[in-house]
């Protein structure tokens, strides 16, 4: 689905090779045009200001409009209540958050994503693997794997390992499907070019297929950050060591300590955002050539 594949242009009645060639030229120019000065403080402020404004707006509304609308603090505590609770329990909540992220979400994420990537590469390289595995990978994507969280706790115990297993299992299949699709989404023209250079299959893999697949790979990686956090927190619902953030959140909600609950939710949010943000940064660095990151489109 790289936007400059020839197939798209054939719809407009242009011959594939010509369209592909021109497409490459045009896109190169676009990339050069949109290259911006690095670390321009004004640009940075322009990027940071809008979300900040929304953030402050929401906080103000939450603080003053929610109580005014008659919503009780046990239904939805105000930000100031949540913040003061967070300040008083921050060392506990931050430690719990780090435990859940580092042991469960991150390990599961890395293992699951790596396994998914490897399976996709195997499926691309060996058609028999693709024939056997891809139908199941597609099917597995449609199955709510998080429902298996209690089973993982039964089989792998109450400690963090069972939650890491759930996160890993949840992360495998989005990665398989996205990577496999990406490895196949190659401009036929570029492949022919490499073939005409006498490049072998693995050279083509490193120089063409892998870079072309990166936007898809990162699509999977970004989806997986969310899945890993959900898996860790829901897994802890069915049994966890006391340091689990998900356990803390559900326990506090169970005894109606809603501002403690929200303090835990705050930590979970921050972890999730930083996690996603790091993956996004890596993606922007590695796939800055992709059409979706170019200005003017």
């Amino acid at each position: 689905m790289a936007a400059h594949t020839s197939a798209e242009a054939t719809g407009d009645g242009i011959t594939p090779d010509l369209a592909g060639g021109e497409g490459v030229l045009v896109t190169d120019r676009l990339v050069l045009d949109s290259r911006k000065p690095a670390a321009d403080p004004l640009r940075l402020a322009g990027r940071l200001l809008p979300p900040l404004v929304v953030f402050i707006l929401v906080l103000v509304l939450w603080q003053y409009a929610v109580p005014a609308a008659g919503i009780q603090s046990f239904q939805l505590p105000t930000p100031s209540e949540i913040w003061s609770t967070f300040v008083s329990v921050h060392s506990v909540v931050l430690n719990y958050g780090w435990f859940t992220f580092w042991n469960e979400a991150l390990r599961g994420y890395l293992i699951g994503s790596a396994a998914g990537f490897l399976i996709a590469v195997l499926a691309w390289r060996f058609s028999l693997v693709a024939r056997g595995v891809m139908p199941y990978a597609v099917i597995s994507n449609s199955i709510p794997i998080v429902a298996m969280a209690p089973v993982a706790v039964v089989l792998f115990g109450f400690d963090w390992q069972s939650k890491a297993v759930i996160c890993a299992v949840m992360c495998v299949f989005p990665m398989v499907v996205n990577t496999y699709r990406g490895l196949r989404a190659v401009d036929p023209l570029s492949r022919e070019l490499l073939e005409s250079y006498g490049a072998g299959e693995w050279t083509a893999f490193w120089k063409l297929r892998l870079p072309a697949a990166l936007p898809y790979v990162f699509n999977g990686l970004k989806i997986n950050t969310t899945l890993a956090m959900i898996g860790a927190i829901i897994g802890e619902f069915f049994g966890s060591p006391p340091e689990g953030l998900g356990l803390f959140i559900s326990n506090q909600a169970g005894i109606n300590n809603y501002s403690e609950t929200w303090a835990g939710v705050l930590v979970a949010c921050v972890i999730g955002i930083v996690f996603y943000g790091v993956v996004l940064l890596v993606e922007r660095r590695l796939t800055s050539w992709h059409v979706s990151y170019r200005a003017g489109v």
Binding site: M1, A7, D12, G23, V26, T27, L30, R47, P50, P51, V54, I71, L76, S127, L128, A130, R131, G132, V133, P135, Y136, A137, I139, N141, S142, I143, P144, V146, A147, P150, V151, V154, P174, R181, R184, P215, N219, K222, T226, I233, I234, F237, F238, G246, I249, S250, A253, G254, T261, G264, V265, A268, C269, G272, I273, F275, Y276, V291, S292, V297
Partner: protein
């Protein structure tokens, strides 16, 4: 770019050049059955491994360890695969449980059809709501840079909220009924749709974009004739993830007490009382529901993406 090129099914695996269509089909079938047999075989081995240990403890508790040791491996393994309270039930036990729950009277809470209908309707309604919101958001983001800059971080943030922990609070605000579950399902479903649709609406051929501009096409024409068709495959990728996400949302929304029927409730019951056969059968039911809804979206994709004019 065509619908066919996006097929992930077994039919079109590139790089392999079977001599005939029939040969390709046979290879497909053999590979699929082979992987299936591997998984089932591994499952049986794992079931023997896990249940032998707990059966041994069980007989030790009864003071009949001598009898148990006297049985020999094969009869022990047979017992491990047919135990009524296994740690890891064998596949045939799960199937038998599923089969028996198809027959139970419709009013019983253990009935599979009732669970399917309850969780299924929550998931479908949530999916429809969530994907409508998701696509609308994506259009807004592509149309307005300032909206994207100010709201997209929060779209991402929204997904990291462990919604299951908030469900008790949401139930206080929204009530025990369908509404809370549909909203939670929609909440999980909209995110993949938004992300994919934004990416899709941006992934247009720059040449085609310039062509539209040179025709003096308006913004709406560009959207309808260029961006939307280019985005459809991406959007359907998001929808296919979204439908599963909404099933997940419906299930986790049922986890807290207060649900009468549904798979989430069945999972909680089974895991609380250690009924592992029921637990696995319920998980299988969740899988069947997810699969059925997913196939419905795939069918829609085939209809919509194939019928596009001007595409190969």
């Amino acid at each position: 770019m065509t619908g066919a090129a996006l097929e992930l099914g077994s039919a079109a695996v590139p790089g392999s050049r079977p001599k005939s269509r029939l040969q390709g089909r046979i290879l497909d079938l053999a590979a699929i059955i082979g992987v299936f047999a591997l998984v089932v075989g591994f499952w049986y081995l794992a079931a023997i491994y896990y249940n032998l240990g707990s059966l041994r403890l069980h007989y030790d508790d009864l003071g009949q360890l001598g009898y148990w040791n006297h049985l020999g491996f094969w009869r022990q393994a047979g017992a491990a695969l047919n135990w009524s309270t296994p740690t890891l039930p064998a596949p045939h036990q799960v199937l038998a449980n599923l089969w028996s729950r198809l027959d139970e009277s419709p009013s019983a809470s253990g009935n599979l059809w009732v669970d399917l209908g309850t969780t299924g309707s929550e998931a479908v309604l949530g999916f429809l709501l969530g994907s409508a919101v998701g696509i609308a958001l994506a259009f807004a983001f592509v149309k307005s840079r300032i909206l994207e800059l100010s709201l997209f971080p929060y779209v991402v943030m929204s997904q990291t909220v462990p919604i299951v922990a908030l469900v008790p609070a949401l139930v206080v605000a929204l009530g025990l009924g369908l509404r809370a579950k549909v909203l939670i399902a929609a909440y999980l479903a909209f995110y993949p749709v938004t992300v994919s649709a934004v990416k899709g609406l941006r992934s247009i051929n720059p040449l085609a974009h310039e062509l539209m501009r040179s025709y003096a096409a308006g913004a709406w024409q560009t959207y309808l004739k260029l961006r939307l068709p280019a985005a459809l495959p991406f959007i359907f990728t998001g929808l296919k993830i979204g439908i599963t996400a909404s099933v997940i949302g419906a299930i986790i929304a049922e986890l807290p007490v207060g649900s009468e029927f549904g798979f989430g409730r069945a999972i909680i019951d089974a895991s609380t009382y250690g009924q592992n056969i029921l637990l696995w059968a319920t998980i299988a039911g969740c899988g069947l529901l997810g699969l059925a809804l997913y196939l419905a979206v795939v069918g829609t994709e085939k209809l919509v993406v194939r019928n596009r004019p001007g595409e190969v």
